[in-house]
Amino acid sequence: MTGTLPQLIEEDVEEIEAIFADFLNKAEADSVLLTAEGGFLVSEHGNTKKLDTMSLGALASNSFEANKAIAGLIGEPSFSSIYQAGETFSMYVQSIDGYNLMVVIFPVTTAVGAIKYYAQAARDEVAKVFNRAKKRDPDAGLDLAMMNMADSSQIFRRK
């Protein structure tokens, strides 16, 4: 069983927190989401309280994948990032390692050049954390035996 997101221990999670806090501060961005392949939200940082981060992560991830398909149609191996300009906020999505993405929301008053510059540095730092985690224990499993599945027939209940 090979995952696209490596197992992260608490130390990794704390390091990713610190990397994105530093990124938000330097780039003057509003928030950043870390998403995994398939549109899953891994973590969120910055001003995310008013955001529907789960939908945002999924939509940004699918949008990025659609752009990769477009890249293929015009003979590009891949687009490594996408930028959407808004009237108040803009979005910049960048691949970290081909599977995981960082989705940056920033005010239009912040220059996109600064976002790109600092995002690349943050991407490299997060990629280092992922690489270290992969080397540590690439095939480890996870014990979910404590989950009692005896009553799983009604996971979703109708009103």
Partner: protein, 210 residues
């Protein structure tokens, strides 16, 4: 590829509703959204559809949180694909990272060839993603059973569920919400059991893609 986050005690799973055009995939999600009991905030149903004809262009997306199981929040991401034949690239994109599939078939007699074609297309698209239908939990839903010109269930089973291992199938009339929750509960049950069987050794992980 499910995401298990042990730090936040969350499991995220992706389920894709697949099937021919106008078979009722979007209606399934609409009815789940309208009728599901949730403890907290209900996720928004996002439809990327054609503004004039209301046909799905990219996908519908419904994030939904199920009951906690032994302290683990189980979050499901429900997607539909566009059924129209021309949108095959989009269907492949939506299938990326899929954990479980609900194949929605149209029970009307004259739709049988479209059902079979769509199922073959599903298998083909999974192969393109280096996945095998036999390795992915899936269920069949025979929708539109409330219409007059429907094929017998046995015939649909022969056409769509005639493999070495037969999967659970459900009769449904999605606009009336009949069979919708039965189908969803079965695929989630199969998915969680699969996750349990795959994840057996205790580790101090914070997050892992299963």
């Amino acid at each position: 590829m499910a995401l298990i986050n042990q730090a936040s005690k969350e499991i995220q799973v992706k389920v894709v509703y697949y099937g021919p055009a106008l078979c009722g995939k979007t209606t399934n999600l609409v009815k789940v959204h309208e009728n599901v009991q949730v403890a907290g905030d209900k996720g928004k149903l996002v439809s990327l559809a054609n503004q004039t004809s209301d046909r799905t262009l990219f996908f519908d997306f419904l994030p939904i949180e199920a009951m906690s199981i032994k302290g683990y929040k189980t979050k499901f991401q429900l997607y539909t694909v566009p059924g129209q034949v021309i949108y095959n690239t989009t269907r492949q994109l939506v299938l990326r990272g899929v954990d479980g599939i609900v194949f929605v078939a149209d029970s009307q007699y004259d739709k049988m060839s479209e059902n079979v074609e769509s199922f073959a297309n599903l298998e083909e698209n999974l192969r393109a993603l280096k996945l095998n239908i036999a390795d992915i939990p899936y269920v069949l839903q025979y929708n539109k059973r409330d219409l007059p010109n429907v094929a017998p269930v046995d015939y649909m089973e022969f056409l769509l569920n005639n493999r070495e291992v037969q999967v659970p199938s459900f009769e449904a009339a999605a606009p009336k919400c009949e069979g919708v929750f039965e189908t969803l509960n079965m695929i989630t049950r199969m998915l969680l059991h699969k996750l349990l069987s795959q994840t057996s050794s205790p580790k101090p992980a914070a997050a892992v893609a299963a």
